[in-house]
Each structure stands twice: as C-alpha cells, then as structure tokens.
Amino acid sequence: MKKILSVFAYIWASLGTLTILVAFIGMGSWQQLSLNLPFMRVDPQYSGGAVVDSVVRNNLKISIHENVFPGVFRQSGNGFVQIDVNQCPADTIRIDSLLINNKITTISATPEKAEADGFEIEDFVKLADRWIIRLKIEK
C-alpha cells in the first residue's frame, strides 16, 4: 500500500512542470474559460454596471448605465449613475432630456468640467476614446 502511495505521489509530483507549461502555453484559452466562472465580472462600482439605455444626441452616442449603490454585505445609500459619451468632443456638449433615476436632466460638459441639472457630479474623466460622467444619486 505504501509503495503504491509512493508511486502515485511521484507521478503527481512529476506533473508539476507539465501543469506550469500547459498553463502558460494555453494561457489565452484558460483565460477565456475562466470568464465562464460566475464571479468573473468587474464590480459595477468600477465598471459602471450594465448599460440600460443608449441615445444619440447631437451626433454623440450616449450610454446610460444602471443605478449603482456600492457595497458587498449591504448597499450604500449613496450611489451613482454612469454616463458614457462615446466620442471625445473638442468643446462644450449639451445633452438634453436624459432620464436618470426617474428624473429628467440636462448634462453639459466641457473638457474641464461637467454639470447636470438636479444632480451633483461624482466623477468626470476624459479617456482617449470617451468621456465618463458619474452623477450622484441617493436611494
């Protein structure tokens, strides 16, 4: 019995190098496979959550994300709605009649700052391919 166990242990140990090689060589496939795991999605607190509405205004494609209230054990009462402007306008933009958290608002933004009627701005960042505006909301 001890001998069988011993042989089994040596075989298992020999598989170590192979496992490492297979993991690295097939990294692309393993990564794709891991995406099927139920927890493999970035928390909405960072990703902004799912896009619930898309509108086109003044030739700008606007994506409105779901309401996000951060928290793991319990949600915070203070949250945000993320709005992506999927181009990088050179100067001022104005987006009228957006329905955010059951309120109609108008957002205006310049490369320096963003404003929204009836909402405080939580974050405003300009990326190479889009602007991200986060509006504060409460439960």
């Binding site: 496992t19 891991s34 493999m40 607190q45 974050d123």
Partner: protein
C-alpha cells in the same frame, strides 16, 4: 555524513548537464517562443536573460545549493520586474501613478495579492471588486486568476520564493548584512500575516474597496501608486513609503528575515494554506538531525519550529543549504523521507524554476533591455 552526497549531479559536470539540458530547453522555449524581433538591445537582453537563468539553474544542480542561486535569480527578477513594470506604465499612461481615469476605465494591473481581498465579494456578490481589465492588457484579472490557481496548487507557498515578483525585494535586503543586528525574532510573529489575511478580506468587503492596495501595500512604492491630488492621497503615499521602508528595507536588513513576507503579506498567508494540499514540502529527517538549530536560524520566513518546517514554509531551500547533516531536505509527501532525495528535489525545482522563468523572464529581459539602451 557528507550532505553534498544527497544530490545526484552535485559536483559532477556530466550529471549536472543531464539535468540542466531539459531546463535550458524550457528556458529558451519560454523566452524565445513568445518573443521575436526587437532592436539590438532587446535581442542582447534576451540572450543575457537566457544565459543568466540557465547559469543559475546549472549552479543549483552542480553545487547542490538551492537557496543561494535561487535567491540570485529571484532578487534580480524582482528588481528588473519593477523597472520593466514602471517603464510599461509610463509608455501606456505617461506616468507610474494612476488616477480616477485609470480606475474608471478599469485598466489598473491586477496583482496576485489582490486575490486575498476578492474572496468575499466573489462569494457574496459574485463580482471582482477591483478596477482591472478582465482579459485585455497587462496583468489582467483572468490571467492572474489562472496563474495564482495553478501555481499555488503546484508549488503551495513555494510561490513566495520562486515566483513572486515582490518577494525578491525583502529576500534581497535580508541578505545585505552578514550578521543580524536584531538577533532574535519571535517565530510566532508569522501568524500576524493570517490576521492580516482575515482583516484585509473583511475590511475590503465592508469598505467595498481593496483596502490593502489602497492603504498599506509596501510595493506601491516601487510599482504603481495613486496620484497625489489631496490630503488623503498624500497620506496614502506616505504610508506606502513607510511600509516599504520599514517592512521591506530596514527590518529585513536588521533581522535577516523576510519580515514583509513572513509577517505582513496577506497573500503569503493564503498561499500557506495551499501548502496543506501541495505535494512538495521541506522536511526534517529527524533520524539525521543533531539539533544544532542552524535551520531555524537560517529560515527567513520564521517557519521552523522545534526543528521542523511549518505551514508557512516557502520552500526556498535555505534551511536545506544550512543543515550540516543533510537532515533537512525537499520531500514529496507520501514517500519515504530517507530515500530518493535527488528525485524529490529535482521534481520540485523543475516546476518552481520553470515558474520563475515564465513569470519573470519576460520582465527581466525587458528591464535589461532598458538598462542596455542607456549605454548604447
């Protein structure tokens, strides 16, 4: 008993080459397989990297000393990794600091230590509470997930002495002085890292942010840190610098122990748990032990108690090198302790070294290329 006779190949060129040849092929496969082209500096750097990793492996086999040459490869990997990492950040975003823009675009590189803070959100909310990319880019979440899972199963906490691109820092500083200034460090301090693991996991879930990364990580000082825009970010950066200075530089220097890794890093604690299911271990053949205590004195991870390595052993081999009778040895669980020492050591060193080369080899070559470029 002559401890050198423990390992087949020790002191014998022919036998050493036989063990070295397959590893050299793996090193070349790993470092040349994925890379092609590049300027002269890149190609020279790649060749030097191959020669360097090959030489260190040969010396491990030929001299029978595991830790001595492993440490050289490990420390050089950590230093060059950070150089290559920072350079990469500067190329991609123009700075080694990050701001809201990187957070909101989810492009922060995911490091393995973050895993400890992801466990509870992943279980409770089924999300990854980190502003990283799932697949794309450098150090994506899925790539790190595969690396952490596979390698902790194969190596257990061997990860911390054979692959972690941070561990080389305090491994390095703990070797600068010949003798420790602080002679005795209580071994039980190692359990503090388990407290850190529990606290960081709970605090991160409660605060809904990776708190160790946001507030404590010593390695922010040498990789990527938050842009100073207000008092909070200033305080964070002061903390990062202090934890690095105290835990990675000063205390390891004075104690000759890897204080950061042994007592503070929550990932180290998590990886220690993988030692339980890992097939490899470092074990004392008590029939050969004369109780000199050299192993315990040598162990940088505070892992040896009553002459026996415990859960937190990182399989660095320092105690094996230090043992005058050859009692301390690499061992495969379920096999006799007094037989086949060479097989056990070889079967461990192969995956461990392959891991080091595959994880850090590319960064070492890139870091080296940057340095070469400074001179030509």
């Amino acid at each position: 008993m002559n401890r050198k006779s423990n390992y087949w190949g020790t002191g014998r060129i022919g036998k050493s080459i036989l063990l070295f040849a397959p590893m050299m092929m793996l090193i070349m496969l790993m470092l040349l397989g994925s890379a092609s082209g590049g300027d002269a500096a890149t190609q020279i750097a790649r060749l030097i990297t191959i020669a360097f990793f090959g030489a260190m492996f040969f010396l491990i086999i030929y001299t029978g000393k595991t830790d001595k040459w492993r440490a050289v490869a490990f420390i050089v990997s950590a230093l060059l990794f950070c150089i290559a990492f920072i350079h990469n950040l500067i190329l991609e975003r123009g700075s080694m600091t990050f701001s809201n823009a990187e957070e909101l675009s989810c492009t922060i590189p995911f490091c393995h230590i973050v895993t400890t803070m992801m466990i509870i959100p992943a279980a409770v909310k089924q999300t990854i509470l980190f502003p990283g990319s799932l697949v794309e880019g450098f150090a994506s979440i899925s790539a790190m997930f595969v690396i952490v899972l596979c390698f902790s199963i194969v190596l257990g906490r061997g990860f911390c002495s054979w692959g972690c691109f941070y561990g080389g820092w305090d491994d390095g500083t703990s070797r600068i002085l010949r003798k420790p200034v602080i002679k005795k460090v209580n071994n039980s301090y190692k359990w503090f890292s388990f407290a850190m693991l529990i606290v960081m996991a709970l605090w991160s879930a409660e605060a809904a942010e990776p708190t160790y990364c946001s507030w404590l990580c010593p390695f922010k000082a040498v990789t990527e840190n938050e842009r100073i825009v207000d008092t909070i970010t200033l305080i964070k950066n002061i903390i990062f610098t202090l934890t690095f200075a105290v835990l990675v530089v000063v205390l390891p220097l004075l104690t000759k122990k890897r204080i950061q890794c042994a007592t503070f890093c929550p990932m180290g604690a998590l990886l220690s748990l993988f030692n339980k299911i890992n097939i490899f271990e470092v074990k004392n053949d008590t029939s050969k032990c004369i109780g000199c205590g050299k192993c315990e004195k040598a162990c940088p991870m505070l892992a040896i108690e009553k002459r026996c390595p415990t859960l937190t052993c990182s399989k660095c081999g320092k105690c094996v090198d230090a043992c005058p009778t050859g009692a301390m040895r690499f061992h495969i669980k379920g096999t006799p302790i007094d037989k086949h020492t060479t097989i056990a050591r070889t079967l461990f060193i192969f995956p461990a070294y392959t891991f080091l080369v595959t994880l850090c080899g590319g960064s070492v070559a890139n870091g080296l290329a940057l340095i070469i470029n400074l001179f030509i």
